[in-house]
Amino acid sequence: MAELKLKLKAPPQTPVEGEVLTPDNLAGRSLNEILNLETWRGNRRVKLSELFTVEGESASKPSDLHIIIEGDLRKVRHLGARMSAGKITVNGSVGTFVGFEMTGGTIVVNGDADAFVGMGMSGGVIEVNGNAGDAVGSGYWGTRCGMKGGLILVKGNVGTALGCWMKGGTIRVGGNADVFTGVRMQGGTIFVAGNVGAKLGAAMVDGKIVVLGNVPNILPSFHIDEIRPNTKVDGDKIEGPFYVFHGDITEGGNGKLFISVEKNPHLKHREAYIF
């Protein structure tokens, strides 16, 4: 793949729009053209040359382009928005809405990501090697539809409302997730290796959530089905045993929660309700 190396000259004081920094937008352009592309810093139009140094070369097709960005991008928003192909690697932390409405390609963040990772995503891969913020894999406000496809991997922890309104695709979290994991879920799969917060799977109607760690409670709107020895996430076998709950019954839901038996002794009393 052709590599374009961008280095952030200094962390901006006001937010910078990262939408322009996708292989789709930078493919087929000379270095000079790229330096002269404009984006927003606050309410000012600024050239990329003012924000970044740029080295390397572009590719003619987005799928052949790898954009590598160095620096503290915590105030760079919507990086990789609507991306369809190619790769972006950020060596640093990144701001809100990384991968907004992306349809393909790969984004790797070697740092933390802020809130709304993969909002409206329908394809592609986002890999965050640090922590991520709230509402990973959610959807734009009012759409009642979160992530539709693709894969989000977070090595560390995530915030609240993971996979809010998610309809498809997979999210894997290596660390912990906060409250309302899988809220309003409509499909797809969530896997959390660590602990989750309260209200897991609230109002879910479909989809699957697997939790290897501790969950403080299971909502009264879930009923226990059985104990299973193991389960699968995207074809990978995950060793249990797991309590399996279905719900959210108040939504007529058929979502499934797979909860580690070992890490959740306080749920033992629910076993009495297994048929």
């Binding site: 734009y140 406000w141 009012g142 759409t143 009642r144």
Partner: protein, 566 residues
């Protein structure tokens, strides 16, 4: 400022001008006989169509329920936005556009007058505040009366004079234009959770039927000499089999008509022209409705055409919206208003592969094509209930071109095609008929004698479309029709150029019309103190605070009532 629009093909049905090459002279905001060509600004509109500015009598553009729609649908807006530029404020569009964008987009379509058809009196200060923020167009709003406690009690007790005095007082106080009725009695019933109201069934705890409400209000309208007939959204909207209620409603006031004057306007009839007993047997009875309208001049209608795509339904018909919510199970807002009325808002996507939606789409067009007199059937989408007003040009193309209709008919379910009459209708609207249905007739039915025509003395509200009626055959070239009507070549309002080649270049404040209604003083002197006393019991605001000062209208344009009849 003087203008001369030269060489255009003028369509002005009020003055019986049908695509004649004519010059239009404008001076001081009015159409005049002539201007001095050496002093006036001459605009050559050779080979273009010149019409009066559009007059839309029914479009939900302002007020509390419209704003509920905006507020709870950020997803409706975020991909359709307008950047601030020149005289234009920024905004958002699609089915519930923000106020500035609403005005600009109407002007770009060549519309210059748009009326908000339903406002709850208690919240009408809000309606006027939004109307003030809609630039360019002249506007007005219709207060809702069909579920009003005072009105229902007066009519129940046979006190029509008192009812008239109450309505006159209210119309003046809140600066309304016409009597609007939505689901008479049904919204009051819904406040107890009842979701269906029959036309001849008594409304709970009020001892009166919708029929009596409608009749009473038509009589009151006559007494007050209001410029527009009673504007009715009938009971049972959206329900299979409701065409019977529509016919009953229309027939209920037939005996009250005098001469050929229309005394009842029934709105968005498409939503009320259904046969069948459920959504499987759902069918079109547009032909029965059209038949009745053809034979009975006391009624006018507007169609409420459906457009396939995503939109937002919003209406004072709260119970209907609850039922729609139960079908769709998405978002639902409800806003009952004490003493007076209610509202509901539910987003919807009309899909051409959905049998019911497809039949609905056919019905609106059937009504427009089967009703023979274009002076009594008006083109609307009940924006945004059937679809956004920005889609009007698409509706025009369907009416003017059988080929355009067939293109859609090919893609709807076979059963919908087979069970409706639309495929067999050959009629195609002419530019003349289009102008009647969207300008001349609507202005007339609203009682706006200075609008909807290009005769001397008319307000210089003019729309010029880049389409040559002598060369373009709308039947074949319907795409050109759509394009031309989507972006006016020139829109003029009160003799000022507003739109040039589809771009808004000026954004003056439009007028807010309202009727300075009056009842005999001796009756008002008894009624108003009575009303004030009952205010404490009924409302949660003081009588003194109900009144809207005229200064709160950005450009107040009061109208005197007509001579009351009978």
């Amino acid at each position: 400022m003087e203008y001369l629009l030269k060489n255009g093909y003028v369509v002005d049905p009020v003055n019986k001008i049908d695509c004649e090459r004519m010059d239009i002279a404008v001076k001081d905001g009015k159409i005049v006989e002539s201007v001095d060509e050496s002093k006036a600004k001459v605009i050559d509109v050779k080979n273009m169509l010149v019409m009066p500015g559009g007059v839309d009598l029914h479009s939900h553009i302002a007020g509390s329920k419209v704003n509920v729609g905006r507020l709870f649908r950020p997803e409706d807006h975020y991909k359709d936005y307008e950047v601030k530029s020149g005289v234009r404020r920024s905004g958002v569009g699609h089915s519930v556009p923000s106020t500035f964008t609403t005005g600009y987009r109407y002007a770009i379509l060549g519309y210059t007058t748009v009326f908000e058809p339903a406002t709850p009196p208690l919240k009408t200060l809000h309606t006027h505040d939004e109307l003030n923020d809609i630039p360019i167009i002249d506007k007005a709003c219709f207060p809702l009366f069909g579920n009003n406690w005072f009105v229902m009690e007066y009519i129940r007790d046979g006190k029509l004079e008192e009812c008239a005095a109450y309505i006159a007082w209210l119309m003046r106080s809140i600066k309304g234009y016409a009597i609007k009725v939505v689901d008479p009695g049904g919204v009051e019933a819904w406040k107890w959770g009842i979701t269906s109201q029959d036309f001849d069934q008594e409304i709970p705890r009020f001892g009166i039927t919708p029929r009596e409400i409608v009749r009473g209000l038509v009589k009151v309208n006559k007494m007050l000499g209001l410029p527009h007939p009673v504007h009715v959204h009938t009971n049972q909207l959206g329900i299979p089999g409701n065409y019977k209620t529509t016919l009953k409603t229309m027939d209920a006031v037939k005996d009250l008509a005098t001469g050929d004057r229309s005394i009842l306007h029934v709105t968005h009839v498409q939503f009320n022209a259904y046969g069948g007993v459920d959504y499987l047997s759902f069918s079109s009875h547009a032909d029965d409705i059209a038949d009745y309208v053809n034979k009975n001049p006391h009624v006018t209608i507007d169609i409420g055409q459906v457009i396939f795509g995503d939109t937002t339904t919003m209406t004072a018909d709260g119970p209907f919206e609850y039922k729609l919510f139960n079908l769709l199970r998405g978002k639902w807002a409800n806003a009952d208003v004490e003493v007076e009325t209610g509202a509901g808002v539910v987003p919807i996507t009309y899909s051409r592969s959905n049998y019911v939606h497809a039949v609905m789409w056919c019905i609106g067009l059937e009504l427009a094509l089967l009703i023979k007199d274009p002076w009594r059937v008006f083109i609307t989408t009940d924006h945004p209930n059937g679809g956004p007003f920005t889609e009007y040009p698409r509706v025009f193309s369907w009416l003017m071109s059988k080929k355009a209709r067939e293109r859609v008919l090919k893609r709807i379910p076979r059963l919908a095609r087979v069970r409706t009459n639309l495929k067999d209708i050959d009629r195609e609207y002419t530019f003349y008929e289009l102008a009647i249905s969207t300008r001349a007739a609507t202005a007339k039915i609203l009682g706006l004698s200075n609008k909807g025509h290009l005769g001397v003395g008319a307000d210089a509200d003019i729309a010029v479309y880049n389409i040559n009626p002598k060369e373009v055959n709308p039947s074949a070239d319907y795409k050109i029709v759509m394009q031309a009507f989507s972006r006016a070549y020139l829109t003029m309002k009160d003799g000022e150029i507003i739109v040039k080649d589809g771009e808004v270049v000026a954004a003056p404040v439009g007028r807010t019309y309202w009727v300075n209604a009056k009842a005999p003083k001796d009756v008002e002197d008894v009624v108003i103190p009575e009303v004030k006393k009952r205010f404490e019991e009924y409302y949660t605001v003081k009588f003194e605070n109900y009144h809207i000062p005229e200064s709160y209208l950005a450009c107040s344009a009061p109208i005197q009532p007509l001579e009351p009849l009978g």
